[in-house]
Amino acid sequence: MTADLNEFRASVRTWCEEHVPADWRRAQTGVGDEEFVRFQKAWFAELHSAGYAVPHWPHEWGGGLSVAEQIVLYQELAAHDAPRLVLAFVGIHHAAATLLAAGTDEQRQRHLPAILDGKIWVQGFSEPEAGSDLASLRTSARRVGDSYVVNGQKLWASGGKHADWCLLLARTDPDAPKRKGISYFLLDMTTPGVEVRLIRNAIGDSHFCEIFLNDVEIPAANLVGAENAGWQVAQATLGAERGLTMLELAERLGNAGFRWLVEASPVDDPIVADRLAQFETEITGLRGLCRKVVEDNEAGTAGPADASIVKLYYSELLQRLTDFGVEIGGMAAHTQLAKPMSSGWESGSWMLDFIGSWEWTIPGGSSEIQRTIIAERGLGLPREPSAV
């Protein structure tokens, strides 16, 4: 087993040495949208041809690496500073997990191979009035014959402008308790009535989008799971992607992220050295935690708040680490006006990484929400009395 794993590691290493584009960070720094999409799709295709794009999918759909192999794969990709799959992310994780867990055979046949061919997905969950309190979403879907007619507005749809398909939560029963009247749909983004508007974020780029839905018709065949069971479908699939994607990010932080921090730092200054050692220790703890969560997920022994612990710790560690990068970088850190696209949150353009770190502490359940989950689901503390 260990011998096989070592062999697998060696083969991934060889592959990385031959395939990770040399100097991609410099080449992708500050590129426009078109080049970013081209590069992402080309890298996805390259990974896919090696069997590394969707290692977590079942074998019959093009994946089938064991969890231990996936851990090795992400460790090596990070160690070789490979570009990150940004554009395909929602498709290969959220969409696939949803379809595999709750989709029909027809839906899987239609969409899973298409994802491998490069179809891009976006998540249409949040709304202006439904952020942390996602279950209060208002976008409505009304059944008319063989279709649903959808009206509403989605917010923070990351990558929306490039998306071919959208994972959409909409309310199908306005009279039911809020979590019991939501349904889960697959929306073709070319459907009439879908309008995408860009939102410029704090670092100046526009991968977050608003999606306006005006009498959009979705065929009933694109409903995932039962009508009004969308909340459960969403919960199951949100949890499914947490472990390994976090492990990948932790490994990246431990490789390129920390390496650059050390390179940029006056390490002979004892105060700087002390803080670096503190960060290295914390990153090591994070990596261990991620491995443990992935293994426990596999064994079915993960605790109810484990994913929240990892998300919270990663987010805040990232924020402190990038902040330190800015501090160490001095004035020069402020002159880096662009960062390499296709990197993670450890691009080495510390100011942009630092400002961008709020993209971790706010979305996907803000740090405050994570703390509440850890306390209530993990430690069993009593819920806040309801405001209503």
């Binding site: 670096l276 050692a277 261990g288 009593p382």
Partner: protein
Amino acid sequence: MTHEFAEFHEELRSVAGDVLAKDSCVDWSVLVNAGWVGLEVPEQFGGAGATFSEVAVICEEIGRAASANSYLGSAVLAVGTLNALQPSDTRDRLLSDVASGAVRAAVALESTEFVPDAEGADRVLVIADGGLAVASPAVTPQPVLDETRRLATVTADDGAEMLQFEGDHAAAVRRLLDRAAVAVACDSLGLCEAMLSATVGYAKVRHQFGRPIGSFQAVKHACADMQVSIAVSRQLVSAAVEAVAAERPDAATAAAMAKSYVCSAAVDVVGKAMQLHGGIGYTWESGIHVYLKRAALNRSLFGSPAAHRKRLAQRYL
């Protein structure tokens, strides 16, 4: 870690928890009879032939109970030190006597000051230039605020027998210091967990403003932070215990990370526990001060966090 080991550790943990819960002070004979002292003593000398991984379980449970006993000095350090020596009649006899409980030893590892559990010990092993002196020195207690630890200054006597470490002297001493640091980190992890559990229990039953204080976000989030740093601590401790038990080359790094992070985190965690218990937490009777003092002492024992991070940072140069 294999499944059988995990099961064995759980059993050890559960038994240790029961034994240590009986009294806040635990006699040497209890530790001996439980078989904990001889865990790492080779079977030929009457021990269990187990590893540092099992010792680590006991250390964690001792921390959880904030138990006052001489396990750290007279088992963890003493047996670890004897095992690192070249075999000799004296060493072999000492190992047997320690395992049987006939002799209680202590080790002046870092210096001759603040030697754990030297008071009342039958022998003190003192690291000396190029070897280890087996002495019966004069011992002067050094009282500390943490009443669960017994520390003392030892004054070496001249007639001591000198023993040699296996392999390089400095490397052997370094490994012993790493072991000591990790053992203390295990202790701090245990006491963190005890304090989180006590705090969560209290926050569920203590009512103010007509609701359990644990339903207030400020309290809840403080508990969540305790949980997160414990989760990270556990990873660093596990990695360090494994590395030390297997004598892996990265053991020094793993030990420095575990000691610096966990022993700092423990002071924060216990401090939060005192805060969240409110007025009761500040009373002598609540016993939280015992944990806070022990956590703070652990942080200083066998290298401050800054000293350990300094060692880590040597690798960046």
